[in-house]
């Protein structure tokens, strides 16, 4: 019989009949769904708790007020210095980390041979850097940036000066410490973006007599920009919530002025939450203030992320027009 002859009806497909109830499939589907909803539930419980407890104190006066009078009193306390301090350290960190991370990734993917031993060592080092606890970065920043570089700068720039200018907690050291901490995130994201660019584009450019540098700058990097910004977004998210690396390098418990110079110390939202919860003379009274400060930190992280995401979306749109 011709197997392609469809004039005769096919025999009834007995084996397609639904079999017994599949217990394992049911349980597994249920378990995957339950885990997913558990995550959403946890997120809502956390956010709900913060908003419920903090919204009463989350006022314009609170966001724009200074910390100079009644830091623990909900009626007078403001968090503007902390907002400015946190935003400055994050933005400065981004300025430090993106160029260094991108150039590292460029070297690893475009210049060095991927099988060479020193690239394997660098790759291992980057992976290990990502696994170092953040307090260790804090100690590193304190020892290296503040005590070594800062103090030497003081000796050279201000010999015999009475007080330290660079060799003390400062915005620049905190930002640099955070940049070191988030470097792996940017390197890995940029590397992935560079690897996803077709080799044919590089070859096409080189075959036209472009130099390696021209190829990297004009063909490869523009293509990798959205991926680089993804790295930036991840770095911002990681750095925003970190307190440990800035404990010894820049954040202080009380400095009511807004940081103006790179060498100024600063107050930080995350550190301030810790201060409020441990140093307050009246815990019950400070509680709404504490939650409102956490709200401010979350909102700031959200705003910085949204800004980066908007830039990336625009860049992607511009690239899509060319595809």
């Amino acid at each position: 019989m011709n197997p392609h002859d469809l004039s005769e009806p096919l025999p009834a497909p007995a084996r397609f009949k639904r079999g017994r109830f599949d217990m394992w499939a049911f349980l597994f589907t249920g378990a995957t769904g339950a885990c997913t909803y558990l995550i959403i539930t946890i997120l809502f419980v956390i956010l709900g708790n913060i908003i419920l407890n903090g919204h009463s104190n989350f006022t314009w006066r609170f966001l724009t007020g200074g910390a100079d009078k009644g830091m623990y009193d909900p009626a007078t306390a403001g968090v503007l210095p902390m907002i400015v301090g946190t935003a400055s350290r994050i933005i400065l960190m981004t300025i430090f980390v993106i160029p260094i991370g991108v150039i590292t990734a460029l070297y690893m993917t475009e210049y060095a041979s991927s099988t060479s031993w020193h690239i394997r060592i660098i790759r291992g080092a980057v992976a290990n850097l990502a696994g170092v606890p953040s307090i260790v970065f804090g100690l590193f920043g304190w020892g290296f940036f503040l005590n070594f570089i800062g103090q030497n700068m003081d000796e050279i720039l201000h010999p015999g000066g009475a007080s330290a200018v660079w060799g003390k907690p400062a915005l620049v050291w905190a930002s640099l410490t955070l940049a070191v901490m988030t470097l792996p995130v940017v390197v890995v994201a940029t590397e992935e973006a560079l690897k996803s660019i077709p080799q044919g584009l590089r070859e096409g450019s080189l075959a036209l007599g472009a130099t390696k540098l021209q190829t990297v700058l004009r063909i490869v990097l523009p293509q990798a920009m959205p991926g680089i910004l993804t790295g930036g977004i991840l770095a911002i998210s990681r750095a925003a919530g970190e307190v440990a690396p800035i404990l010894f390098t820049g954040a202080v418990s009380y400095y009511p002025e807004l940081p103006k110079l790179l060498t100024d110390p600063f107050m930080d939202l995350g550190y301030h939450v810790f201060i409020l919860s441990t140093q307050s003379p009246n815990i019950e009274q400070t509680r709404p203030l504490l939650y409102a400060t956490v709200m401010a930190l979350l909102l700031l992280t959200f705003v910085l992320n949204i800004a980066a995401i908007i830039v990336r979306a625009q860049m992607r749109r511009k690239m899509r027009l060319l595809q």
């Binding site: 041979s113 991927s114 096409g204 036209l208 021209q214 293509q223 060319l322 595809q323």
Partner: protein, 272 residues
């Protein structure tokens, strides 16, 4: 031999029956190439003539693409490649110590198997290399871009949308854009690595027409899997097998009266 050559191929060959004896511009002498320890090209000696189309044919893995990529030093991009012997282009060994690879690639253009337009507009795809090589003025760029697109038989199709993306073109148009991009900087030699292998028959015919047209101005070396294509477009044919050059002669001779058994088996379709 003649009786097993298909009628189609015989008619194709008419056009290329008179292979011109022009000046030799590429001179390969005992060229060998190693990937690590495995040898991909074995002692290849070959002289390629000016303003003709030379086809490299042979089964997959025979080294024809590798050899093509030797001619503009594209193999430099691959780690662990070692090359012995010489490859002279215009009397200069391109593997010599004082060779400027960028200058070499300007003179030896390349079109790839997979069309690779930049994610830029049609105009910018061509302007890219022109700007790199010092053409900056708008009207000068416009002129060269129009001329290149006309040379690549693409002008009529894209003249109204020069500033839309090169990636929005069809496969065949993208490949012609890549050809336009390559000829814009006026190389002396144009290397084509299976330029039509990913295209439909109509687009392929256009590319072939273009190749025959371009040989007035350029020396063309084309790698192809398609025997009919080699017969149709080329004046000379080199047959490679397992990294060796088996036979190199006029296309007519290679296809109708090859001197080697392996060549005969391949061009008549017995293997490969």
């Amino acid at each position: 031999m003649a009786e097993i050559t298909t009628a189609r191929m015989a008619s194709d060959l008419v056009s290329s029956s008179m292979a011109p004896k022009t000046k030799e511009v590429i001179n390969l002498d005992q060229l060998s190439l190693f990937y690590g320890t495995s040898q991909a090209l074995k002692d290849i000696s070959l002289k390629i003539r000016e303003n003709v189309v030379t086809a490299f044919i042979g089964p997959s893995g025979c080294g024809k693409s590798t050899l093509l990529r030797c001619l503009n030093r594209m193999n430099d991009l691959i780690d662990n490649v070692r090359i012995e012997g010489t490859c002279e282009i215009g009397n200069q060994n391109i593997y010599g110590p004082d060779v400027d690879v960028v200058e070499l690639r300007k003179r030896v253009g390349m079109v790839f198997q997979k069309s690779n337009p930049f994610p830029k507009s049609i105009y910018e795809n061509i302007a890219f290399a022109l700007r790199l090589h010092g053409v900056k003025k708008k009207n000068e760029l416009d002129d060269v871009i129009e001329r290149s697109l006309r040379q690549a038989a693409l002008w009529e199709e894209v003249k109204d949308r020069l500033h839309s993306s090169g990636l929005g073109l069809s496969g065949g148009q993208q490949q012609r854009l890549c050809i336009a991009r390559a000829v814009a900087i006026q190389p002396e030699i144009l290397l084509m690595d299976e330029p039509a292998s990913a295209l439909d028959p109509l687009a392929t015919a256009k590319i072939e027409e273009l190749v025959m047209d371009l040989k007035k101005d350029y020396t063309i070396v084309i790698v192809t899997h398609n025997m009919q294509q080699a017969a149709r477009v080329s004046d000379y044919t080199a047959f490679f097998y397992l990294g060796r050059l088996i036979e190199y002669d006029t296309t007519l001779k290679v296809f109708t009266n090859p001197s080697h058994k392996q060549t005969e088996d391949y061009v008549t379709g017995r293997f490969g």
